[in-house]
Structure formats: C-alpha cells, structure tokens
Symmetry: C2
C-alpha cells in the first residue's frame, strides 16, 4: 500500500472512530491530521480555533507570509517543499548565536528571545509553537505592547509547568489562533497543523 493510500485509510478510520463527533468542516482536516499524528483522540476536544482560523492561516501562507517555529523539530516536520510553492519559508531562531548571547545577558529563555527576534526581523508572521510556553508569553507581551500583530499563533506547547497558563494567555488576546487547550501538544502537533492547512491548499487528500 502506498503512503498516501495509508493516509487516506487512516483518515477514514479516524472519522469512523469519532462516530457522531464530527469536527466543523472548516477545521475537520486539521483535527483529523492532529489525531493521525498522535493517535490521540483527546485533540478532538482540545483544539480551539478562532473564527475562520484555518482559512486565515491558508491566506497568510498564500501571501508568502513566513512561518516561525520554536524548535528545529517543528521546522523539520513542516512540508517545506509545498510551502515554497506559495513563496513561504520556515524560520527558527532557537539556535541563533545572537539569541543565545542575549538570552544569557538578559536572563531570559532562548525561546523568549527567539520570538522577539522573529517579530523584529519578520514582523507579523505565522507562529507555530509546539514546545516552549515562554515563546507564547513573549508573543503575548509583544502583542500587548503593540509591537506585534501576528497573522496566526499556533499555540500547542506540551508540558506540565506553565503550559496551560501560556495557552490561556494566547486565548485571552484578540489574535487569530489555533490552540491545543490543556497540557497536550508538541512540535509534531505544531507541524501537523501547518501541514494540514498546506495539504488542503494543494488538495492532497479528500
């Protein structure tokens, strides 16, 4: 069986096992791709979308809006070949030497400073955050200070400390968002959400 056939069959199994629980058609392929990526049906309930978040994400990509991740793992997981067709690129500043130096000097996490650097160099891009709650807190501070208007914040860090709070902080702002409420998420989930939007744009699946 070919990988794309397996994927199609997997999406059918997920729809079947969700039973009567049908995601809104606009977000259906995102929800099912996250479940496909994790084999975890909790995401049916966890994922929270601002109004028309998926079309908003797709519009940003179609305009070539850059995507910023907090980890190289999320960057690795995003389909950069398809993204390039729309003139968009993924950036991750976590390994940046200047970011490391500045984080040390200012006593902040590298994740925090990497978000400031993204805001400075790329402006209102798409943020795909699967790991660091401090990345979400940095985005929030920049938004509240009027220094950043993100096109989209995918806020899906995973973890046990400050993670729930960081996501609720994003949900409290008036910005386009896709958030996995609660503890669950991950770099794989962040990448899956971007890829779901991309594959729908090129009609890779149903």
């Amino acid at each position: 069986m070919k990988p794309l056939d397996i994927e199609r069959q997997s999406f059918e199994i997920i729809a079947r096992e969700l039973g009567g629980r049908k995601p809104d058609p606009e977000v259906d392929l995102v929800v099912r791709r996250v479940i496909h990526t994790t084999a975890d049906f909790d995401y049916f309930d966890n994922l929270v979308f601002s109004p028309h978040a998926v079309p908003a994400l797709q519009a940003a990509i179609r305009e070539g809006c850059p995507i910023v991740t907090d980890t190289t793992m999320a960057m690795a997981g995003i389909n950069k070949r398809i993204l390039a067709r729309f003139g968009s690129q993924v950036h991750c500043f976590i390994g940046d030497e200047e970011v490391a130096r500045e984080a040390k000097t200012r006593g902040l996490t590298r994740s925090w400073v990497s978000m400031e650097k993204a805001a400075q160099t790329l402006g209102g891009c798409v943020f795909a955050i699967g790991n660091a709650p401090t990345a979400l807190f940095a985005i929030s501070e920049l938004v509240r200070a009027g220094k950043l208007r993100p096109r989209m914040v995918i806020g899906v860090p995973v973890g046990f400390v400050n993670v729930v709070e960081a996501k609720e902080e994003i949900l409290s702002l008036d910005i386009p968002h896709i958030v996995a409420r609660g503890r669950k998420g991950g770099s794989n989930v962040a990448a899956a959400i971007v890829n779901a939007a991309l594959y729908q744009m090129v009609k890779r699946e149903e």
Copy 2:
C-alpha cells in the same frame, strides 16, 4: 524559572500523578521523559522494554554506535551535542536521492529502502523509528534474513494502518528493543527515548 528547573518540576509532577504506578528504576527516566514529551500517561502501559534495554542502548551509544532515524524530525529532536561527546552521530537516509530512485524502481517505500541503506552502510546500529511501519518491517526482514543484528530497535511509529502489526513483528524477534505497543508513538517519542538515555548518561537530571 530556568528550563532545567521546569523539567525537574515536570518530572516530579509526573511521578506524583503516576501515584502508586512506579516504573522499574532502570526504565523510569525513559518512561517519564516520554510522558513529559507527550503529556500522555498511556505510555506508562504502552512502553515495552527487552531485558536491560536502557543499559544496552547506553552501552551502544558509549561505543559510538551510530543512530538511524526514519524521519528528519526524529533526527532534529535528538540531542546531537551530547551524542557527539560519545563519538556517536545521527543519520537519516529518507531524503537521500539514491534511496528515492531505488524506492521508485522497486515499488517500495522510501522508509523501507532507507533502512536497507542504513544496514548496508552502518551495520548493526541503533534504529530510532517514530513514523514508518515499513521501516520496522524492513528491519525485521533484514534480521530474519541474517543480514542485520541491530544493537537496538526503538520501535515507536504512530498510526492507524499497519502500525500495531509492525510493532508486534519487532516484539516477535530476538533483538534488543524499546517499543510503544499499540497505535501511539511518533518522531518526538523516538527522540525522547534516545534523549532520556543520553541525559541519564551525563546525569542531567535527578
């Protein structure tokens, strides 16, 4: 709070929430790191270890044994800086042009052919498989044909089609393994298992 303090606190929360369920000390930090990576306590039950699998993995790394992943995402997630201290490296052949050509010619998945290439070029290395069931089936076929003796197979693909079967196939072989039984897993889980072994080797945490 510093990232390492957050991590320590997270590991304590996980131990507390596991309550009376205590992982065997030898595998404790692996089990808890996977839960930390996914916020999913199912891994307490899902993870299956061959006898002394964690010390075996650590011995392989200490000898500089290479690690092969099926995805660039798992490769991105593994701590390559610490790995390098032991003279070990991560390899991933999924994007290899020769692999792509051969997969097309032979009508196999790139994941399958990438495992053959790993076996040919690196021999009995550590396999960290978080995505492709066909990678596990390829490893199994090579083992059964007497062409490969892996030092360790971390078999944690995620998914709904052929995934459970591929993991059971690995469990049926007499090779050192760490397997996430059932549908769950992922590139993040594969990387977390390697990192847990590494961090214990350098005593990064408790």
